[in-house]
Structure formats: C-alpha cells, structure tokens
C-alpha cells in the first residue's frame, strides 16, 4: 500500500493497463494490417506510376527530338541531293552541247574538205575538158585556118617554112 495518497491519475492501475493493452493491440493490429498499408502502398504505387510516366514522357520527348533532328537531316540531305542532281544535269547538258558542237564542227570540216576535194576534182575535170575542148577547137580552127590558107600555094609554103623554123628554134633552145 502506498504511504502517500497519490491522485488516481498518478496511481498505477492494473485494470486500466489491461484494457489499454487490449485496446491498443486491437487498434494496432487492425490499423497496421488494413489501415496504413492501403494508404502507403497506394501512395507508393502512385509515386512509381508518376515516376514511370515522367520517364516515359522524357523518353518520348527525346525520341521526338531525335525524329525532328533526323527529319531535318533528311531534308538537308534531300536538298543537297537535289542540288547535286541539278548540277549534274547541267553539266551533262553542257557536255552534250559541247560534244554536239565539236561533232558538228568536225563533220562540217570533213564535209568542207570533201567539197573542196570534189571542187578540185571538178575543177581538174573541167580544166581537162577545157583543154581538150581548146585542143580540139584549136585543131579544128587550125584545120579551118589551114584549109583556107592552103588555097594559096605560096602562102602555104611560107607558113610551113615558118612553122618548121619555129619548131627548129624551139628545138635549139
């Protein structure tokens, strides 16, 4: 028994302790099993979900950036290719024109040469013909002249002598 009479709120009391133990254990086991885990697990899962969503968003963003860069690169490449093609085409065209002109020139030159050769041949032919014609004509003229001259005997004689002299002179020289 206590020597001093403490107020009851300061006195140990088995009954209250017993009930407190029971009450606290009941509430502890209930709340620790059904109360807190429900909240904490959900919050943890939500946290995980948010983290995942954030990571996914980040990834998607990065992917998008990659795609953008890629597309830009593609466009750049396409432009360059376009420029290349145009330049090549231009070069080809220039080459073809040049080739054509060279060929034309060559052909022209060749034809010109042919024409010249033909002209020369024609010329020679013509000359030959002219000579022949002149020869025949001169022979004919000479015949005619001779036929006329021979009518007079003396003149004929003179002429023949003169021709012979000339031929002799030429021979001497």
């Amino acid at each position: 028994m206590l020597s001093i009479n403490l107020p009851s709120i300061l006195t140990p009391d088995a009954g209250l302790l017993f009930w407190m133990l029971l009450a606290f254990l009941v509430v502890f086991f209930f709340v620790a099993k059904y109360g807190f885990p429900a909240i904490i697990n959900m919050v943890d899962e939500r946290k995980k979900y948010i983290d995942q969503a954030l990571a996914k968003a980040h990834e998607a963003n990065e992917k998008l950036m990659g795609i953008q860069q890629e597309s830009q690169q593609l466009i750049k490449q396409a432009r360059q290719e376009q420029a290349d093609i145009i330049r090549q085409a231009q070069e080809t065209a220039k080459g073809i024109i040049q080739q054509a002109s060279v060929k034309a020139q060559e052909e022209g030159a060749a034809r010109l040469k042919d024409v010249q050769q033909q002209i020369m041949a024609e010329k020679e032919n013509a000359l030959r013909e002219i000579r022949q014609t002149v020869a025949t004509l001169s022979v004919k003229i000479a015949e005619k002249v001779i036929q006329k001259e021979l009518s007079s005997q003396e003149a004929h004689q003179v002429f023949i002598t003169k021709l012979v002299d000339e031929a002799l002179d030429e021979k001497d020289k």
Partner: protein, 334 residues
C-alpha cells in the same frame, strides 16, 4: 469519485473538482441537476479475495444501503477505487478489470480509429495507381499519414528500417492525437482524461521501450556497454556504461511524463479556469459577472491552445519514439 455537488454547499473545492474530473470513475457522470447526479452506470468487473469474479453495474453501489455490493465498495478516501471488505476486518484492493469511464473512452477511440481507417482504406480498394489522388477526408488522412511517414518517421528512424516501425509509430500518433482531441470535448463521447493518466502514457512508453530495445542492433548495445569514450571512463569504474544503461530507462520515462504532464496540466488549467466562474459567483454578482466573462475568454484561449497541444504532444511523442528507435540502429562504425 468525490462529487462536486456535495461540496458546493460549503464552497467550491477546486482541487476536488479538478482532480475529480481528471480521475477515472466507475460511472460516466454527465451532469448534476438539483443535487441529483445524471450519469451512465458502467459495468464493474472485479475478482474477490476468494478468487471469484464479480460483474455488476456500478449503479448498484448507489442502490445498496451501505453502498456495498458483495463486500465491494468505492473508497472515496483512496482515489475512489473499489475496495473489498474481507471477513477478517481488513480491506484489500481486488483485481479490478472494470469497464471504467477511461476504458469506455479508450474503446470509443478504438472504434473511431477503426472506422476512420476502414473508411479511408475502402476508398483505395477499387482504385488504381493511375487514378486521381483522393480529396476530402480520405485526402486529409493520406496527407497526414504520408507526411508523418515521409517527414517524421523516415528521417528519424532512418531509411533502412523505417518501414518496419512506421505502423507502430503511426498508430501511436493517431491514438494519442484522437484521444487528446476527444479529451477536449466536455460532454459524453469525449471528455475523459486518458492521455493525462499515467497508466496510459506508461503503456505507450513501454511500447516504445520495447520497440527500441527488442530490435536494437549489436552496435546499439555496444554503444551502451562499451561506448566510444576514453577507456578510464569505462574501466575500472564503469561510469559511462552505467549512465548509458540508465539512459535506456530515462528515455521512455521522459516520454511518459511529458505526455502525461502536458495533457493533465491542460485539462487542469481549463477546469480551474472554469471553476473561477463558480467561485466568483459565490462572492457576488458584481464580481462574478466580469470574472465569468474573463474566464470564458481564457477558456476559449486555453481550448484553442489545447487543440494545438493535442497535436504537438502526439507529434512529439511520435517524433521522439522515432528518434530513439533510430538511435537503436546506429550505422556500423569501422
């Protein structure tokens, strides 16, 4: 229990009134009307000296002529507890498991807590993590639980072990907090002074004591019996080990006394201020009226303060328990 009505004729005995309201009782006193007590009788469960259990309503103490039931009576001289008259003339304190006012209040807290957390847990039952976060009451409970765990328990106990202890610490917090709040309500579903009773805080402190020492690691015990101090402090006179060993008990003792003293003092102050009204009105209306107004203002202030204290004390108890538990898991020093 000393009834205030009896003394009212010869003046208000403040000490009796205050202690009476703070104390446990075998009935739940609601009001006194024209000298008649209106109260809820509660069951008395006692084991007599011959080892037999007796269970009866506390109202039978009033009904019986000599206020004795089967030899049991309420001894107002000795804290208003039940004593038993033994045939040899002496009186003994029987094993008393009565459902007293405090016990009823305890179970009200238990029911309240279970219903609060059942309601909260039910909300989560059919929800997925990708659903919207709760609002309203469930949101408040989630906020409270998570902020306690993440801002208080986790840093205090330490990252490695906090999940193991957080159910106990959270239960202790909500138990103390709800009990404190109910204690502030002056009428039936609340009003019993639970956390201002040394038995309750003793039990809570014992729980913390067990949590600290049952699960303390090797390093913790090494720091008690062979603390890292100069050797002459340990050998030949084990000064530091003795101090450390003493510390094992002072930590929960401080927890017990802190909660008890704070809650008891808060209740005592509010009750004392209330008593001012009755004391001054006995002197006269001229002094009674202004003092009543002053008392009312002070009471409102004190109740607001107690509301704060109700939270702070629950928080402090949880925080210190968490810190002590954390100290029982020191990191391994090389």
């Amino acid at each position: 229990m000393a009834s205030p009505a009896v003394q009212e004729e010869e003046g208000v005995n403040v000490k009796e009134v205050v202690l009476g309201h703070l104390s446990d009782a075998y009935e739940w006193h609601i009001l006194t009307w024209n000298g008649r007590h209106v109260s809820i009788p509660l069951p008395v469960i006692v084991r007599g000296h011959e080892g037999q259990w007796h269970c009866f309503s506390s109202a039978r103490f009033h009904e019986a002529e000599d206020h004795k039931v089967n030899g049991f009576y309420i001894d107002n001289e000795r804290n208003g507890k039940i004593y038993e008259s033994v045939p040899d003339g002496t009186t003994i304190r029987p094993l008393d498991l009565s459902i007293t006012k405090n016990v009823v209040q305890l179970w009200i807290v238990v029911i309240l807590m279970i219903s609060i957390f059942t309601c909260t847990a039910r909300w989560y039952k059919h929800k997925k993590p990708e659903d919207e976060a709760p609002g309203g009451f469930v949101g408040m409970m989630e906020m409270l639980v998570m902020s306690l765990q993440d801002d208080l328990i986790r840093p205090s106990v330490g990252e490695a072990h906090y999940r193991k202890y957080s159910p106990f610490l959270l239960t202790a917090f909500f138990f103390i907090f709800i009990t404190n709040l109910l204690g502030l309500i002056p009428i039936f579903p609340g009003g019993a002074n639970i956390t201002g009773n040394i038995n309750i805080t003793f039990f809570l402190a014992i729980c913390t004591f067990l949590m600290i020492n049952l699960f303390g690691n090797k390093e913790y015990w090494k720091e008690i019996f062979w603390p890292p101090v100069p050797t002459w402090l340990k050998v030949p006179v084990p000064m530091m080990p003795v101090i450390e060993l003493f510390g094992i008990f002072t930590k929960p003792f401080a927890l017990m006394v802190r909660l008890f003293a704070n809650m008891m003092a808060g209740h005592a102050i509010i009750l004392s201020i209330t008593c001012i009204i009755f004391i001054t009105s006995q002197v006269g209306v001229a002094i009674g009226a202004p003092m009543s107004v002053a008392s009312l203002v002070m009471m409102i202030f004190m109740n607001a303060l107690e509301l704060l204290v109700a939270f702070i004390q629950a928080y402090v108890f949880t925080m210190l328990s968490a810190v002590f538990i954390g100290m029982a898991h020191p990191a391994h020093h090389e």
